[in-house]
Symmetry: C2
Subunit: 334 residues, 2 copies
């Protein structure tokens, strides 16, 4: 018998195949293999990108030359453009607006072939701190309502360039799924006077079977209501609704758990493609959301079904998260 | 400048690349190529499937032998099982239930290599009529709340068998996206006292630029707020909330527009993978939903991005639906 599980935040039901669960060896995923070639994100090719916005670089080097550790540039093919008014308007029954926003690319490391597990904790911390530097800058623009930070790694996950990078998009509206997550969490808070994410953390810490890693400030685990096999969430143990509230030694701890979690994942699936997204509160509501809790959602690309599932909102998960976490804790393919 | 568009039903914003739109030749999609081999859905292999539930077959042939035109069998690896109680229960803060439901496979034709455009209108009508025969049977079971009918065509779209087939799943709950669509449409109805889908039909008929085909009872068009490039909706022109309300010569007209629309699509993209889903009202609400309108959503698998978009709910559409419809009307690659 399979199991139907309901997401306590958004109310989505998913089908978990507890009956004939798929093991790691059953996934015939498209391996992510580096093809090489000229890369605009590598040392020495700085002029192949638009001029840099910000960088972490050696003191005696100038912008748009080598010597950087983390580099942020405008996306050469931006989905949204920084100039202009939003101009929300109607067209018959439809609503539209101009595609105004920011679309930046954060180059995580000068090393073309280094995925997050290949970096030092300090290097991961560097690019995470740049997420916040860019967020702080972008949120000053009154046209923007949300800053979306996400990484596509591997062609199967939608990356068009293989050099490790993160995309930062400032949007003039809050994306639907974020809004639903916030509304769902608010609804739970009204009912129970507790943050649903804090409750999830408590239950996961108690049941233990879905936990992958834990450190002083963070937990990484396979969520009870996963939508994708081997989906992983990384969440601060302390209630925080805005990603950039992380202070002091929290960011080093986040860098460490992110690196180690992906490392454990890659021990089970050696050449994967994956996405991760930072779910955080909208601009201007950073301090106010007592029922919302930022976290990172890591989604490996192990299966190819997408159109149907994203169209229907109905997910079939071939590996129960309890079993996925067991493999990931072990860190090797059985 | 790209354009942000807001879905009038669910309120989702998408980014349409009106600035540098992708043309059909720009899509490097994974071609769907038949590999052959022993197929459990072909003539003569009827015993390779579980015993048939229902079939359209020649009078002098018996069940589970050749001689059928359309054949419905239980899914050999069902996501949900027909026996047992749902047993909804809590587990700490989580909710779950047993995986009770029906999971059937409808084999559309005995011809392994025939996609919908290769069939006669009458053959398409036959399998569409079987959608309704199975729905009428399944909706008698009081445990079920929704019947989901969808087709995965091609491995890239999640099909594990290449012989043309549709899946019919009876669920003990209404899927999240369907529920949201109904709620959104209801909200619109309360505000305007008109069905949002009827309003869409009127505006599309007036503006014409997103229409692909039209016949007496149906319209096929690229929706103004597409989530996927070359997404197509087929909708009855008359208000109907339940798919199986189609009567008289409506079903032949549906068969015809479905076949011709996919045919036009395949003239532009010769070996595509695709999904389609029938969006219809839940069981027991067939007659009541004055604000809801059934339709078919056809989603070609031309791009590989999925994890990020289905995770965030934010879609980037490289080809504006107006341009997609122009190519599809022309029916050939430019």
């Amino acid at each position: 018998m399979s199991e139907l599980r309901r997401d306590p935040i958004g109310g989505r039901w998913v089908i978990i195949d507890t009956d004939h669960p798929s093991l790691p060896k059953d996934y015939e995923y498209e391996p992510h293999i580096l093809k090489g070639g000229t890369c605009p994100f590598c040392y020495g090719n700085e002029t192949m990108t638009p001029p840099e916005i910000e960088a972490i670089r050696n003191h005696n080097t100038s912008a748009n030359t080598p010597g950087w550790e983390v580099r942020v540039v405008p996306n050469k093919f931006p989905a949204l453009k920084i100039e202009g008014d939003i101009d929300r308007r109607g067209l018959g029954i439809y609503d539209l607006s101009n595609g105004v926003g920011a679309h930046e690319v954060l180059i995580e490391t000068p090393y073309h072939e280094k995925d997050i597990p290949d970096l030092l904790d300090k290097e991961v911390e560097n690019f995470l701190s740049m997420y916040c530097r860019r967020s702080s800058d972008l949120k000053k623009d009154p046209r923007f309502k949300y800053i979306m930070i996400f990484k596509n790694y591997g062609a199967a996950a939608g990356a068009s360039l293989e050099h490790p990078h993160t995309q930062i998009v400032a949007l003039p509206m809050v994306p639907k799924n974020v809004m639903e997550e916030i509304k769902g969490a608010h609804h739970y808070f009204e009912f129970r006077e507790r943050c649903v994410f804090c409750d999830i953390l408590k239950q996961e810490a108690q049941e233990k079977e879905r936990i992958i890693l834990e450190n002083k400030y963070f937990l990484s685990f396979c969520p009870f209501v996963s939508r994708f096999p081997f989906e992983i969430w990384i969440m601060p143990k302390k209630h925080q609704s805005y990603f950039c509230q992380t202070k002091g030694d929290e960011l080093p701890q986040l860098a460490s758990i992110l690196r180690e979690t992906i490392s454990k994942f890659k021990a089970v699936f050696p050449n994967p493609s994956y996405n991760f997204i930072i779910h955080s509160s909208p601009i201007g509501e950073q301090e106010e959301l007592e029922g919302y809790h930022w976290h990172i959602e890591f989604m490996p690309k192990l299966t190819r079904v997408a159109g149907f599932e994203s169209g229907s909102g109905f997910y079939l998960v071939p590996t129960p998260p309890e079993l996925a976490a067991k493999y990931l804790r072990g860190g090797k393919q059985a």
